[in-house]
């Protein structure tokens, strides 16, 4: 089946044209990034925490099957039903079966990217099950039929006016309301009756703890606590890489997570679920969906350390300027550029090119994933496997301007050895990169190489050639 690669550069360019949105997006995320920096500076032990977080995750991934079994054993002993799903389809079938067996028709849900990954809503709704997102940002995206734009801030690309228009349509509120407070209140009022009448609740989760068979959910709205507790049925879906060995390991991660994500010390709610509530039923679905394949990839397995804080997105100049929607994927930004191609190499072949490789993502990552190096490695893989429609269609289109002039091409290629050896980098990272069009750096050349060459080097080159050189 042929899949069209995501037109990331094109979509990003469109986002850049929406000036107000683009400026807000850029500034908001940069602000969050700076708040993260402040937190980092307050804690002298920051680098040590990152190192520990990385080591714990690496250790866990190296022993993943054993920790998963330990988790399962303990969770079952606590009365939790543990299920496993190889892929999204299997996950969705499981959720549907659990809901059907309880005659549950309405599901309230707290944000979880993994259910988007599985396209769960799309699967459940035709089965007659209403799925309502309780997280405000996620609900905004749901009402607008869009994927979340950011792992932590799902609707960060929208302005108040966009939300007002959306709520006016769905909640009958004033379309000219430009007060985030009253809009947030409108959501609270609209959500409460749905929450009170729900048949089942669903959450994602941030950490699984092998030692106790518990899992941890971090939210700011407390919507996971509501989703999990208002009904007698709680289903939690987590990726198998979410596990840590010991309860005490959480100290390291909780201290890093929200500080890296939003620059706040902790999320407002950090909830530990170890057993079903009294007279309730709890199900955990452990989802693989490509993770075991990724763990078998030499260059990319360590991306499974990711705790989804979004810091790499907030710092990425390409993400900030192109918006999450332009990635056309559940995971956007630098981490998306690494993990999306593991889901579909052709469809997401353009994403590893959406980076300046400045390394900022790697610097902020709380679990020390070498993000920019993996992005670079993906480029090599994609080029080697000819999954390079981006290079062909986008970069080459730009490069064509240069290459269309045979004289210039020859001059650039054969003029000096330096030009020859730097040519590929030049094509990928210079102004020919579509991203370069929207950056201040580097400036488009004021003078073409050809004219510069004629002015400065042609004579000496001709002399050389007369002396028997090869310049044509």
């Amino acid at each position: 089946m042929s899949v069209k690669p995501v037109a990331h550069a094109h979509e990003g360019a469109k986002f850049l044209e929406e000036k107000a949105h683009y400026h807000f997006h850029d500034e908001r995320l940069w602000d969050v990034r700076q708040k993260r920096d402040q937190e980092m500076h307050i804690l002298p032990e920051w680098q040590e925490l990152r190192q520990k977080a990385s080591e714990i995750k690496e250790h866990t991934l190296a022993n993943l099957p054993e920790y998963l079994e330990q988790f399962e054993k303990n969770a079952k002993a606590n009365g939790i039903y543990v299920h496993w799903a190889r892929d999204g389809e299997e996950h969705n079938r499981l959720v549907n079966e659990i809901l059907q067996s309880h005659h549950a028709k309405s599901l309230i849900k707290s944000k979880s990217m993994i259910t988007d990954e599985c396209e769960m809503r799309e699967y459940l709704e035709p089965q007659g099950i209403t799925v309502t997102e309780t997280d405000l940002g996620e609900r905004i995206q749901q009402l607008d039929n869009q994927l979340p734009s950011h792992v932590v801030l799902p609707a960060v690309q929208k302005l108040t006016g966009d939300v007002a228009a959306l709520f006016a349509k769905h909640y009958n509120t004033d379309p000219n309301d430009n007060d985030p407070h009253s809009l947030t209140e409108a959501q609270r009022q609209a959500a409460r009756p749905i929450i009170l009448n729900a048949d089942a609740g669903m959450t994602g989760g941030n950490f699984l703890v092998a030692e106790t068979g518990s899992f941890v959910v971090c939210t700011n709205e407390g919507n996971a606590d509501l989703s999990a507790n208002v009904t007698g049925l709680h289903i939690a879906t987590l990726g198998i890489e979410r596990i840590v060995p010991r309860m005490s390991d959480l100290g390291v991660f909780i201290r890093l997570l929200s500080r890296s994500a939003l620059g706040s010390p902790i999320t407002q709610y950090t909830t530990h679920f170890r057993k079903p509530k009294k007279n309730g039923e709890m199900h955990i679905i452990l989802v693989d969906n490509g993770r075991s394949d990724r763990l078998a990839m030499d260059d990319f397995w360590s991306s499974l350390k990711c705790i989804r804080c979004g810091a790499c997105m907030n710092t990425c100049p390409v993400y900030r300027r192109s918006g999450g929607q332009s990635y056309g994927a559940v995971y956007s930004g630098p981490i998306g550029a690494i993990i999306d191609p593991t889901f579909n190499k052709t469809k997401y072949s353009t994403l590893p090119f959406a980076s300046t490789l400045n390394g900022s993502c790697t610097n902020v990552c709380p679990v020390k994933i070498n993000i920019h190096e993996q992005i670079f490695k993906w480029r090599r893989v994609l080029v080697e496997e000819h999954e390079i429609p981006f290079v062909k269609k986008e970069i080459m289109k730009m490069a064509g301007r240069l290459l269309a002039s045979p004289r210039l091409y020859r001059a650039a290629i054969k003029g000096t050895n330096v030009a020859l050896s730097t040519m590929p980098r030049f094509i990928l990272y210079n102004y020919l990169n579509p991203w370069g069009k929207h950056r201040e750096l580097p400036h488009p050349v004021k003078q073409t190489f050809n004219s510069w060459y004629r002015q400065n080097r042609l004579k000496s080159a001709q002399k050389q050639s007369e002396k028997g050189g090869q310049v044509q």
């Binding site: 040590e48 606590d225 201290r255 902790i266 679920f273 452990l286 075991s292």
Partner: protein, 201 residues
């Protein structure tokens, strides 16, 4: 259901055993660490609670808990989850979510707080298994003792057995919050609109 999950489980585990790249001998389990500031003072707790949007409510000379709370919330429905606080009705009286939804103020006792985060802990024990009710109430008053503070997240997870024994354990650092609409911080998104701590010693 059984056939699907048994099969999937074995397939996933077998695949992980067969193909994973990181090898156990390369990545030993790091020791448990206790890093950073170990100040467990009420002052540190208070500073961080305020930062997270929570508040403190002082008791005046000779004032009972009930009087103090009434001074903050006159004329509203107060529900108590603790015997220490006498209210017109108790959390165990709540028969439905709809009743809980009508509660203006919920008063609870927290077994411990974390100074680093201004966080308080609640489990099914303090809530008499009324887990949702505490989140459906509009405002939360938390009774906490200064001697029940632990320094930071490391010490909390290492010292407090609740993390291993509670069925449900939530750390709350202030009220429900969101900044999902154009980055404007708003308290009271889905859960409680305010969280106020009263020191009981």
């Amino acid at each position: 259901m059984t056939t699907i999950h048994q099969n999937a489980r074995d397939v996933i585990l077998a695949k992980l055993r067969e193909k994973k790249i990181p090898q156990p001998e390369q990545f030993p389990l790091p020791d448990v660490v206790t890093l950073g500031d170990l100040d467990a003072s009420p002052k540190r707790f208070e500073d961080n609670l305020l930062r997270m949007g929570g508040s403190l409510w002082p008791r005046e000379e000779g004032e009972s808990l009930e009087e103090a709370v009434r001074r903050k919330f006159p004329d509203v429905k107060i529900c108590s989850a603790t015997d220490e606080f006498k209210a017109s009705f108790k959390i165990t009286d709540l028969r439905s979510l709809k009743e809980a939804n009508l509660v203006d103020v919920m008063v609870v006792r927290s077994p411990f707080g974390i100074a680093e985060m201004g966080a308080i802990f609640l489990s099914e024990k303090e809530l008499s298994d009324h887990l949702a009710d505490v989140h459906l109430a509009q405002h939360l008053i938390v009774l906490l003792s200064k001697s029940d503070l632990t320094a930071n997240m490391h010490t909390a997870y290492q010292e407090r057995e609740e993390f291993k024994s509670a069925a449900y354990g939530v750390l709350m650092s202030g009220p429900s919050a969101t900044a999902d609409i154009q980055g404007v911080l708003i308290r009271g998104a889905q859960g409680v609109r305010s969280l106020t701590v009263i020191w009981t010693d």
